[in-house]
C-alpha cells in the first residue's frame, strides 16, 4: 500500500531522505573530526607538558643537590611553565564545554591537576630557595559545581585572570580542581585547612573562601 502511494512523483520523498541521511552523516563526521581533533590536541598537549614537568623537576634536583647554577633561571622556567599550564587549562575547559559527541576529558583533567600540584610544590621549593618575592596563588575550585557555584567560580576565575595579567611574573597562578578524588590534592587541602570550594590560597598562608574582589586579593600580594 505504502509503495503504491509513494510511487511516481512521490519517490522524491525517498530521494530527499537519502540525501538528508548522507548530508547528516557528512555533518556528523565533520563535527566528530573537529571534536576528536580537539581531544587529541589536549592529549598531545599533556604529553608535552609531562616532558616539560620532568625537565623542570630535574632542573630542581640539579639546583638542590649540586647547589649550582642560577636560581633565577629555574624560577623563570617555573613561571613560564605555570603560565602555559594555566592557558592550556582554559582551553581544556572550553573544549569540554563545546564537545557534544566525544567523552568528557576527565582522565586528562586529572593528569593536568596532578601536574599542576607538582608545579605548586615546585614553586614552594623555589620560593624558599631563591628568596624571590613572587607569590603563589592557588585557586581551588569545584569540578562539579551547581549553577550558583559555577557563577561564583567564573567570577573568581575572571578576577584572578585580571590579577595575573596585571602582576605578570610576580604571581604564579595555579587553578586546581579540588574535588577530583586525587589523594595528593586532598592531602594539600587538609594541610592548609581548606574545606570550602572555591577557595584561594595565597602564599600557603592566607585562605580566602568564595568570591573576593581584585582589591581584596591584591592586599595579600604586596
Amino acid at each position: 500500500m505504502v509503495y503504491k502511494i509513494m510511487k511516481g512523483n512521490t519517490f522524491i520523498f525517498f530521494e530527499a531522505l537519502l540525501i538528508t541521511l548522507v548530508l547528516l552523516s557528512v555533518g556528523f563526521s565533520i563535527g566528530l573530526y573537529f571534536e576528536s581533533f580537539r581531544t587529541s590536541k589536549v592529549i598531545q598537549g599533556y604529553k608535552n607538558f609531562e616532558v616539560e614537568a620532568l625537565d623542570l623537576k630535574l632542573q630542581n634536583y640539579y639546583f638542590q643537590t649540586l647547589n649550582k647554577g642560577n636560581c633565577m633561571v629555574a624560577l623563570e622556567e617555573n613561571i613560564n611553565f605555570a603560565d602555559r599550564l594555566y592557558d592550556e587549562g582554559l582551553i581544556i575547559q572550553k573544549y569540554e564545554d563545546i564537545n557534544q559527541i566525544t567523552e568528557e576529558l576527565l582522565l586528562e583533567k586529572k593528569r593536568y591537576v596532578l601536574l599542576k600540584t607538582e608545579l605548586w610544590l615546585n614553586s614552594i621549593i623555589l620560593k624558599e630557595r631563591c628568596k624571590e618575592p613572587f607569590h603563589t596563588v592557588i585557586y581551588l575550585y569545584s569540578n562539579t559545581p551547581g549553577q550558583a557555584k559555577e557563577a561564583e567560580q567564573e567570577a573568581i576565575s575572571n578576577v584572578l585572570k585580571d590579577i595575573k595579567e596585571k602582576k605578570g611574573n610576580q604571581v604564579i597562578l595555579i587553578p586546581i580542581a579540588g574535588d577530583m578524588e586525587l589523594r595528593a590534592i586532598d592531602l594539600q587541602m587538609k594541610i592548609y585547612n581548606i574545606t570550602y570550594l572555591p577557595s584561594i590560597l595565597i602564599d600557603e598562608k592566607y585562605v580566602l573562601e568564595g568570591f573576593h574582589n581584585t582589591e581584596e586579593i591584591e592586599k595579600y600580594l604586596k
Binding site: 500500500m1 505504502v2 503504491k4 502511494i5 509513494m6 512523483n9 512521490t10 522524491i12 520523498f13 530521494e15 530527499a16 531522505l17 540525501i19 538528508t20 548530508l23 547528516l24 555533518g27 556528523f28 565533520i30 563535527g31 566528530l32 573537529f34 571534536e35 580537539r38 572550553k94 573544549y95 564545554d97 563545546i98 564537545n99 557534544q100 559527541i101 549553577q147 550558583a148 559555577e150 557563577a151 561564583e152 567564573e154 567570577a155 575572571n158 578576577v159 568570591f211 573576593h212 574582589n213 581584585t214 582589591e215 581584596e216
Partner: protein, 405 residues
C-alpha cells in the same frame, strides 16, 4: 551524546529533510511552475463572498470579480452579509441594481464558515469559488484555474495570494512571506499535497461542498475544507499563474490576531484529522498530516530549546549579580563559547538550505535582495512563534474564536 544533543539532532534531521523535499521537487519542475491546463469547457461558477463589516473593500472586491475574464452567462456572485453593522449591505444592494449577476443573502452574524454554507445552498454553480471581501482576483485568474477540474479527481484548486499593501515594515515582509508561502504550496502541488486552499481565492467542486460544506467549529475553514477534500481521496491543486491580491494587517497586533487564528485553526484541523495518519490511500495521511503536525511541534521544541539556552545564560549571569555589590564588573566578562561542533555544522547546513529555499521562492518576486531575505529569515520568521504560543494558551483555555474582526 546527551539527550539535548539528540533532540537537536532530530530537529535538524526533520528540518533538513523537509527542505530537501521542496528543493528536489523544485529542481524537477522548475520550468513548469507557471503552467496550467487549458480548459476545454467553461462550467458555471458561483462566487461566494462572505462579508462582515466590509464597507471599505466590498465594492472593489465585487468589481474585481465582475471583471474576471469568464463567459458572462457562466458566473454569478453571491454576497453573504454576515450581520454587518456598517454599510456593507447598502453598498451591495446599490451594486445589485447595476448588475444582475450579484445576489445578496442577509443573515444574522454566525461566522464565516456558516455564511459560506448558506451561500453554498443558494449557489447554482458546478464549481464554487470562494473569495474574501478584501481580496481582488486578477482578470485571468479563473481561466488559469478551471482547467484543473477536467481531472475528475480534483476537488479544489487554489491560487497564488499576493499582498496588495506593501508600505510599512510589516506589510513589506508579509509580502515576502506570502510569496514564500505560495511558492511552497505550488511545490507541494506536484506531490498532490496542497494542504490549504486559501480564503482570498479558491475554487471547489460544487458537489463536494454541497456534500460536506465548511466546518463552522473551525476558525480556519479554508484549511479544514482542504483536509476534508484530501481525506475523501480527492486531489487539491494550485495554479501559480492565477493571482489574487489581498489586504494584509497593517499593525503588529492585527497580524498577531490573524496568525493566532491560523494557528488555532491549524491545530483544530490536526486534531480533527489525527486518525488519518498512515491510514489513507493518498499522501494526505502519509505526508500532509505528519508534516503539518511536525511543523507545529518542531517550532515549539525549537522555541523551548532556544529559550532554555537563553534563560540558562541569563540565570547564570543573574547569579553573579550579587557579586556586583562586592566589586565584580560582570559586564566585562559576558561571553559565548562557540566552537565547531557537529550541531553547529548541521545548523549551518540547515540555515544555508533555508536561505536557498527563500532565494528560490522569491526568484520572481520584486523584493528579493539578500538583505531582505536575511531580515525575513532572522527577524520576521522567528516572530511566528509569538502567535503560536498565544494560540496554544487560548486552546488550553478553550478560547477559540475569530480574532480578526
Amino acid at each position: 551524546m546527551d539527550w539535548l544533543t539528540i533532540i537537536y539532532f532530530i530537529m535538524f534531521f526533520f528540518g533538513i529533510y523537509f527542505l530537501f523535499i521542496f528543493l528536489i521537487i523544485y529542481s524537477k519542475y522548475r520550468k513548469q511552475l507557471y503552467d496550467y491546463p487549458t480548459p476545454s469547457r467553461f462550467p458555471f461558477v458561483s462566487f461566494l463572498i462572505p462579508a462582515y463589516n466590509e464597507e471599505d473593500s466590498i465594492e472593489n472586491a465585487i468589481n474585481a470579480i465582475l471583471k474576471v475574464s469568464y463567459p458572462q452567462n457562466k458566473k454569478e456572485v453571491i454576497v453573504i452579509n454576515d450581520g454587518s453593522k456598517d454599510n456593507t449591505r447598502k453598498i451591495v444592494e446599490w451594486l445589485m441594481r447595476k448588475n444582475h449577476q450579484i445576489r445578496l443573502i442577509n443573515k444574522e452574524n454566525s461566522g464565516k464558515a456558516d455564511s459560506l454554507n448558506q451561500g453554498i445552498k443558494k449557489a447554482r454553480g458546478e464549481l464554487i469559488a470562494v473569495t474574501d471581501a478584501d481580496s481582488y482576483p486578477s482578470r485571468d485568474a479563473l481561466k488559469k484555474m478551471i482547467g484543473y477540474f477536467e481531472d475528475e479527481n480534483v476537488g479544489a484548486v487554489t491560487s497564488r495570494v499576493l499582498v496588495k499593501n506593501k508600505k510599512n515594515f510589516l506589510e513589506k515582509f508579509q509580502g515576502i512571506d506570502y510569496a514564500v508561502i505560495a511558492w511552497g504550496r505550488k511545490i507541494l502541488d506536484y506531490v498532490n499535497s496542497v494542504y490549504v486552499t486559501n480564503g482570498p481565492l479558491s475554487l471547489y467542486r460544487g458537489k463536494l461542498l454541497r456534500q460536506f460544506g465548511f466546518d463552522p467549529k473551525n476558525v480556519t475553514e479554508d484549511i479544514e475544507v482542504t483536509w476534508h477534500i484530501l481525506s475523501e481521496g480527492y486531489k487539491t491543486r494550485m495554479s501559480y499563474s492565477a493571482e489574487v491580491y489581498t489586504s494584509t494587517p497593517t499593525k503588529l497586533k492585527k497580524w498577531i490576531n490573524q496568525r493566532v487564528r491560523w494557528n488555532l485553526g491549524g491545530l483544530q484541523t490536526i486534531y480533527k484529522y489525527r486518525r488519518f495518519v498512515f491510514r489513507t490511500n493518498n499522501l494526505f495521511g502519509y505526508f500532509v498530516v505528519p508534516y503539518v503536525s511536525l511543523a507545529f511541534f518542531l517550532a515549539l521544541v525549537g522555541f523551548f530549546l532556544f529559550s532554555r539556552f537563553l534563560l540558562k545564560k541569563i540565570y547564570f549571569y543573574a547569579l553573579s549579580v550579587p557579586l556586583i555589590f562586592r566589586g565584580y564588573n560582570i559586564f566585562r566578562y559576558v561571553s559565548f563559547n562557540f566552537g565547531l561542533t557537529f550541531l553547529l555544522v548541521l545548523g549551518m547546513i540547515f540555515f544555508s538550505l533555508a536561505l536557498i529555499y527563500y532565494k528560490l521562492a522569491l526568484k520572481d518576486y520584486e523584493n528579493k535582495k539578500i538583505i531582505n531575505i536575511l531580515i525575513y529569515a532572522l527577524i520576521y520568521r522567528p516572530l511566528y512563534i509569538l502567535p503560536l504560543l498565544i494560540s496554544i494558551y487560548k486552546l488550553f483555555r478553550g478560547d477559540i474564536r475569530w480574532y480578526t474582526k
